[in-house]
Symmetry: C2
Subunit: 155 residues, 2 copies
């Protein structure tokens, strides 16, 4: 696994990441007009959702600059409980974003490797994610393989 540069750390998302998380995620898609209070209530909700083992189902991590606490990258793995595979668990990696000021330092790969290892530690039999065709090569470098087609309906 690629190692994290000395001046960055990976940790769980916190209330103070409000602005940094929004800025990073705005590079991925529409974030909207969410307030600090709404942000905190999402984090509280996520903390409340537990797996049968008592561990957290939502696991959102940020890579931050040690000195300034700026959010360089963000990503989530949430864990789904199934009947199949002996009541197995599946990890879903979602909402991966690297702030454009922090590109070219392999932070995306470091984050995916980290989230994949969280899925393994929590006992998942696999972790999956959906991405644009143009990002397949990046995820292959993170040891992911093509598994199928993502289909969507919008409301």
């Amino acid at each position: 696994a690629t190692t994290i540069p000395n001046d960055y750390t990976v940790r769980r998302i916190e209330s103070r990441d409000f602005e940094g998380a929004k800025t990073a995620l705005a590079g991925l898609t529409i974030v909207g007009e969410i307030s600090q209070k709404e942000f905190d209530s999402i984090l509280n909700y996520w903390d409340s959702v537990l797996l049968p083992t008592g561990e957290q189902a939502y696991n959102t991590f940020v890579i931050t600059v040690k000195d300034t606490e700026r959010v360089a990258a963000i990503g989530t793995i949430f864990i789904e409980k199934k009947i199949i595979h002996n009541g197995g668990l599946v990890g879903h990696i979602e909402d991966i974003a690297v702030n454009s000021d922090f590109r070219g330092q392999k932070l995306g790969k470091i984050l995916i490797d980290y989230l994949s290892s969280v899925g393994k530690q929590l006992g998942c039999y696999k972790t999956i994610l959906d991405c644009d065709v143009k990002n397949v090569g990046f995820y292959e470098k993170c040891d992911y393989k093509e598994a199928g087609i993502e289909m969507q309906i919008r409301y």
Copy 2:
């Protein structure tokens, strides 16, 4: 939307669907040696996971034969809470299976239409699913469109 044949109903999964659910899901993938007790504890776990609105995050439905209660089809929509899209919700359709004795009656489409409408009612901005290339045509008939590539890592 395709209407359900007179002799079938759609309802939430229950404890008595243990054998029927396993049989249907065995047509999709490995189910394993799960006991009635383990099955019940998965259903109880699912019931315990609530959205911020208080509604259920896991929604597993079966199509059963009215007379015999046999499980003809099974499928899940579980709901993910995000930061993006104004703290939006996304529906994930998972573990769709039609028992081979009940093919050719459009039960698959009826189930997907039903699960998609559950996602809409719960306030999702979209519902997504991953499928094999060979099932893309079926999901297109259910109003889904190709959105990306599913990638996986197995542990």
